[in-house]
């Protein structure tokens, strides 16, 4: 038998080792948390550093002499002539005012690639609206060509390649110093639909599409979810059917979202013949997807209403339905709303099922209603992220910032609502 003092000695000696282990274990925990938070920080800095330039537009402001002869146009109110006229010529002419030596065919082509490809359409639309402008000189602000914009915003950034010729770079520098090329807040981004040209593309179409889709989702998912939760918590008899419903809800909550896209494609589009790429179908699919989330959180909210409330109401003669509608529901409503907002935030960020029901189409127009073709914010980001032009990458990140701003607002609102209205019993 070892004596007590040597046993204490043994413990003391092992203690050092054990404490070292303890510290190491703690360190692993700290490291794990650091990794997670570090990823979060990297993610956000990456998006912001890539995307803040998306909120800046590069413009070329020119004094354009709308010369009829140059455009082969002598009556701007005649649609036939408008269709045939050359609206690029006065823009090139105006640029030549700064660079008189640029007269060769190649130079002209390079000049025409200083302004965006929609610049001539812009001149055409202006003339269509104001036929009397023909022959006058006007100051017009054009979006700069994608390559010029990349040069102005990202010269020296290894992530971007400069596709301007040396001559164009010289021109751009000179125009920049003269203030002809300028940068400003990108209002186009917030007032247009998608476009093939980054300088002309905006997020408004996708934003409206998202709002319409979310509207359909909310109208369907919230009442149905709350009603289902009320049934399951308050009325459902404990039988096999109820069990089956519960199993279904739990499983649906974990079904991959893309499966809901298959459902939408086969049932809403295939079976019911609904049109593709419309907010109604998107909203229906997302509603089915968020329903389990809403039901589960609503049930939790109903459960948290203390039985004493129900008993008191029943005690003074209220029917079961009156107890539920007059007492339980109002008290559980904050919790239900919170859960629903969080579910809606999930739906707002969802992309995969919408790809399958055709909301990935290229849509320029801003959607007008629940049945017009539309796309939504996350899908628009997906489209831009996969586009070849460099300018779309910053638009995609800028779009992500807009989307995240919405999500953060919704979640913050949910938290505020919970803090404000939820009662502790």
């Amino acid at each position: 038998m070892t004596n007590p003092s040597s046993q204490a000695e043994l413990v003391r000696r092992s203690l050092k080792r054990r404490y070292r282990k303890e510290r190491r274990f703690r360190f692993y925990g700290v490291a794990a948390i650091s990794i997670a938070l570090f990823s979060l920080v990297i993610l956000f800095t990456d998006i912001i550093s890539k995307g803040y330039t998306g909120f800046i537009k590069t413009t070329v402001t020119l004094e354009v002499h709308l010369d009829g002869e140059l455009m082969y146009l002598n009556d701007a109110s005649d649609p036939d002539q408008i269709a045939m006229a050359d609206f690029q010529a006065p823009i090139i002419k105006a640029l030549q005012g700064y660079f008189p030596q640029a007269t060769s065919r190649a130079d002209k082509r390079e000049l025409s690639r200083m302004t965006g490809s929609y610049a001539s359409n812009q001149v055409r639309d202006l003339l269509k609206e104001n036929p009397d402008w023909l022959g006058s000189t006007r100051t017009i602000e054009f979006p700069a060509h994608d390559t010029v914009s990349v040069y102005v915003k990202h010269a020296g950034d290894p992530g971007y390649s400069i596709r301007l010729t040396e001559q164009q770079q010289r021109w751009t520098d000179e125009l920049l110093s003269k203030g002809v090329i300028d940068t400003g807040f990108n209002d186009v981004f917030f007032s247009r639909g998608d476009s093939r040209e980054p300088s002309n593309a905006g997020i408004l179409g996708a934003l409206i599409g998202s709002l319409l889709t979310m509207g359909v989702t909310l109208i369907i998912a919230f009442p149905v979810g709350v009603a289902a939760a009320v049934y399951l918590e308050e009325f459902a008899p404990s039988n096999r059917l109820t069990d089956f419903i519960e199993v279904n809800i739990n499983n649906l909550a974990a079904v991959p979202s893309i499966i809901f896209g298959l459902l939408g494609l086969a049932v809403f589009i295939g079976l019911f013949g609904m049109p593709r790429s419309v907010p109604v179908v998107g909203g229906l699919v997302l509603a089915l997807m968020t329903l389990p989330t809403i039901i589960i959180s609503s049930r939790a909210a109903i459960k948290s209403v203390p039985p004493s409330i129900r008993e008191a109401a029943e005690g003074i003669g209220a029917s079961k339905m009156q107890v539920v509608l007059h007492h339980v529901l109002p008290l559980a409503m904050p919790g239900m709303l919170t859960g629903s907002i969080i579910g809606m935030a999930q739906a707002l960020g969802e992309t995969a099922p919408l790809l399958l029901i055709g909301m990935v189409a290229f849509i320029v127009e801003i959607p007008e209603g629940f049945f017009s073709s539309a796309t939504v914010l996350p899908v628009q980001i997906f489209i831009w992220a996969g586009s070849a032009e460099q300018g779309f990458v910053e638009l995609a990140s800028a779009g992500i910032m807009v989307l995240l701003a919405f999500l953060i607002t919704m979640n913050a609102f949910a938290i505020w609502l919970r803090k404000r209205l939820e009662r502790r019993w």
Binding site: V255, M321, F371
Partner: protein, 462 residues
């Protein structure tokens, strides 16, 4: 009138019914000496009328709107003269879009055959007729229902009971939507899957080692027959999910342990919401991050180390997916760890064990089943994740074990096969549904097992 306009109209009619029934119930009660002599409050008689007005009308409206498009399409297609009747489903959808564009005035009638323009006129007529009938029928039923309930306002009828019964049934229908959704999912994948297996044998699908879903469009076309072997997709999916779990499980688990055992309440209240933020970021954002930041970084790193790397590597997708499911694992583990009874922990600490020893030797073994359940749920989420892999993992179906290579997954293939124009009967489209079915079955199994494990574990300590 269109469905979107009829819906508010029905609601307005219901409100009108409510108003009339309310007034009538008061009028009926007045000679009896006030509403105390009615069997129910006036609001219940009114609500009963509103329900009678709205529910049948809405049911008719919903059914009509759901099947209207399909029925009209079929009628128009049947009306086409024999020589114009399309041979295949692909031709059919082409003809159909031609007809509907013509009817919408987007197409010049002079450039299409006679029969097609006739069909377009028919389509237009049928649509108008359907819309008129629908409007008439819905209004008629709403008014009839409302009037019936209005005449039923009488002191001996207990409106409250019938309103409550109807509401309860409505609530049940809402709960049953979950069942309908599951049935919808199963049926929408099952039919197409069976049709797919008529074209491609099951054994080839399950055990084939090459995936290239290119089928010839015309019979005389020179081109690949199309190979539908799911093995490369499964290995790709498994590799990416495994990388993701390799990141998420240790990081998530250790964070949860630290937060529940060591962190001060202050730190917990800051770190937990931040971790949850990771869960709230949309997957398309992760996809963007993976495709444009992580993948190029990994490629450059690999090249600097003298390794061959594809610009769309499994590693990039897996890494980012791992980050995405960290909060999932940590919050599930947190629940499980906190569910271990206090007494076990106190007992171990009282015996002189350090906190980490308590954790490793007492709490962890006790929490293990729950943690396993959580990991299974995380795995099912990783397998079903779509956007990250669509954007970062690539399309080439390589059968490889090298994480720097590009691989493809089941979800990527579903998206690629089904985006863009498609016919419902080509093996390519049907293959997507077969893949969807596989995905559904696998994730369902994982979820069922996980939920069972977690529940069993909970019962143990409750």
């Amino acid at each position: 009138m269109q469905t979107a306009d009829l819906l508010p109209l029905v609601l307005v009619l219901a409100a009108v019914a409510y108003g009339f029934a309310f007034m009538r119930s008061r009028a009926v009660a007045a000679p009896l000496g006030g509403i105390r002599n009615l069997k129910a409050l006036p609001a219940y008689y009114a609500a009963r009328a509103a329900l009678w007005c709205a529910i049948p009308a809405l049911i008719i409206l919903g059914t009509w709107a759901a099947f209207e498009g399909k029925v009209i399409q079929d009628m128009v297609m049947a009306s086409l003269p024999a020589e114009l009747a399309p041979q295949s489903a692909g031709r059919a959808s082409l003809t159909l879009s031609q007809i509907s564009n013509l009817a919408a005035g987007k197409l010049d009638p002079s450039i299409v055959p006679e029969g097609i323009s006739g069909a377009a006129t028919l389509l237009q007529e049928l649509r108008e007729q359907s819309s008129q009938f629908k409007t008439l029928l819905v209004i008629l039923i709403a008014v009839l229902g409302g009037t019936f309930a209005w005449t039923q306002v009488a002191p001996h009828i207990n409106a409250r009971k019938s309103v409550e019964r109807t509401l309860q049934r409505l609530f049940f229908v809402c709960a049953a939507v979950a069942i309908l959704t599951t049935i919808g999912i199963v049926f929408s994948v099952i039919f197409e899957t069976f049709r797919f297996f008529e074209k491609v044998p099951v054994s080839e699908f399950l055990f084939g080692t090459s995936w290239s879903p290119q089928t010839a469009l015309r019979a005389d076309q020179i081109g690949s027959e199309g190979a539908f072997g799911i093995i490369p997709l499964f290995t790709g999916t498994l590799m990416i999910s495994a990388i993701a779990l390799l990141i998420a499980v240790p990081v998530g688990l250790l964070s949860a342990v630290y937060l529940s055992e060591y962190a001060s309440p202050m730190m917990r209240s800051v770190v937990k919401p931040l971790l949850e933020m990771l869960a709230g970021v949309p997957t398309v954002v992760y996809g963007f991050f993976a495709a444009l930041t992580v993948a190029p970084f990994i490629r450059d790193l690999a090249l600097a180390l003298g390794l061959e790397a594809s610009s769309q590597s499994a590693l990039a997708a897996g890494l980012v997916m791992g980050i995405m499911i960290i909060p999932f694992v940590s919050s599930l583990s947190d629940d499980v760890i906190n569910a271990v009874p206090r007494t076990l922990r106190d007992g171990s600490l009282a015996l002189g064990a350090t906190q980490s020893e308590t954790m490793k030797n007492v709490i962890f073994p006790a929490a293990l089943p729950g943690i396993m359940g959580g990991i299974l749920l995380a795995a099912s989420r990783a397998i079903g994740e779509t956007m990250i892999v669509v954007m970062a993992a690539g399309l080439a179906a390589n059968l490889t074990a090298n994480p720097l290579d590009s691989v493809t997954t089941v979800t990527v293939q579903i998206v690629t096969l089904l985006t863009g124009d498609q016919e419902f009967d080509s093996a390519k489209t049907l293959a997507a549904f077969a893949l969807g079915m596989m995905l559904f079955i696998v994730t369902l199994l994982l979820n069922v097992i996980a939920l069972k494990v977690v529940r069993k574990y909970r019962e143990q300590y409750d």
